[in-house]
Symmetry: C2
Subunit: 242 residues, 2 copies
């Protein structure tokens, strides 16, 4: 058993939009980066897994946004793993501001894959994983399954070099960026996201042609990205407070 680990970060200019607040994508970027750094520091990160040809891939996430931090704010990102089964492990996050007020919380579910076969591995046999569990409950309810949507609007995206990461597939954050880019810029720069859920369903590769669909209601945006075989790759929902 272990405790939460906390990392400090100052919100950089490259992480804000012209509302001078960190973007939704930057906030998700923080937790994905910290997931990597924290796993590496404990000996079950990509640094160690790479030599075995294994890697972590994210499956689902549920995020609560209480407010978006501004440029130059110092934030504290805490993370802990509190559960794992055969296929998925649960990594949690909270982000607090300088006054120690909670501004964000998240629960994320990850699988470990074999890089060659792209098949999931049985997490119960990961060496020493058990000793890094922390008994603290998740700060957000587990992410649910998101169903197919009826898009009012779609855009086509050809997967290019900058979409692909070290895992040779489209980066998780890139799917979310493609989705967010479909929304009116006024909404993104004046409203506040409250609850976000994402289901990562399949991988996509360099050269794939993706269709990004968006179904927008007053307070909720639903998204679905499909490949050229009409198979869903990623789905997400963003709830808003105006």
């Amino acid at each position: 058993m272990t405790s939460k680990t906390t990392y400090k970060h100052t919100v950089q200019l490259s992480e804000i939009d012209f509302s001078l607040r960190a973007t939704i994508i930057s906030m998700i970027g923080y937790i994905l980066d910290i997931a990597g750094v924290d796993a590496d520091s404990k000996g079950f990160g990509i640094k160690k897994l790479g030599s075995k040809n294994h890697s972590w891939v994210i499956s689902r996430m549920a995020l609560e946004f209480y407010r978006l931090p501004y440029q130059y704010e110092q934030i504290q990102i805490s993370t802990w793993v509190n559960d794992y089964g055969k296929l998925l492990t649960v990594r949690n996050f909270t982000i607090a501001d300088e006054k120690n007020d909670l501004i964000f919380a998240a629960v994320t579910q990850w699988a470990m894959i074999d890089i060659s076969t792209r098949q999931p591995l049985d997490l119960r046999y990961v060496e020493e994983y058990n000793k890094y569990l922390c008994a603290e409950p998740s700060p957000v309810e587990n992410p649910r399954k998101i169903t197919a949507i009826n898009p009012q609007k779609t855009v086509i995206h050809n997967v290019v070099y900058s979409d692909i990461d070290f895992n040779r597939h489209v980066n998780s954050l890139r799917y979310l960026s493609l989705m967010v880019d479909m929304l009116p810029i006024e909404l993104l720069t004046t409203a506040n996201p409250t609850h976000v859920e994402v289901n990562f369903l399949r991988e996509s590769q360099y050269g794939d042609i993706l269709t990004v669909g968006c179904e927008q209601s007053e307070t909720k945006s639903l998204f679905e990205i499909k490949n050229s075989s009409n198979i869903a790759i990623c789905r997400a929902s963003i709830e808003w407070k105006k």
Copy 2:
């Protein structure tokens, strides 16, 4: 007068491609980020300029790549300003690895603008700027003017939310990412960039429709991004060693 300032950085997973080396875009991102951090630490960064409604914009850059660092490498980014005139200031960079071997060098030219009028300001009257000059010469020859190209290939890009930065225009790095994405992925992940030059000519805004052109020869890639009025926004060249 002052001396060079050095910042440490570890190459992160989100900064590499599947060749496990930092991307060209990440390398340029390092120096743009450090330019901001260093200017802020000396009192002439966006942190201070923002309150006066002024901002820095980059005009040209010339970059020498000796090698791309690998994931988890610790690098040292040094920067110094060695000249300024009425319109442009010269900021230099070197990046060294853990053995203190030089892996990258750059010279960049910046203008200061009034955010409302988008017009350049006279740098000679920037308070206290003179005391932060460092007499060290630039490590690379000044960037030259890049002329129009004859593209063999073009792609259209609609400017979206994630392209725009806190300055309300397309982020400098985004132009370069659009250019690099036109190149064969084999070139990007197996060849070594040697010399890169960029001319940032005009701003573009949310909703603009850009045409990205590429002219590729054996060892050199030339790029030009034009807006829908056929006016050049950004030009660049990348030389390669295979």
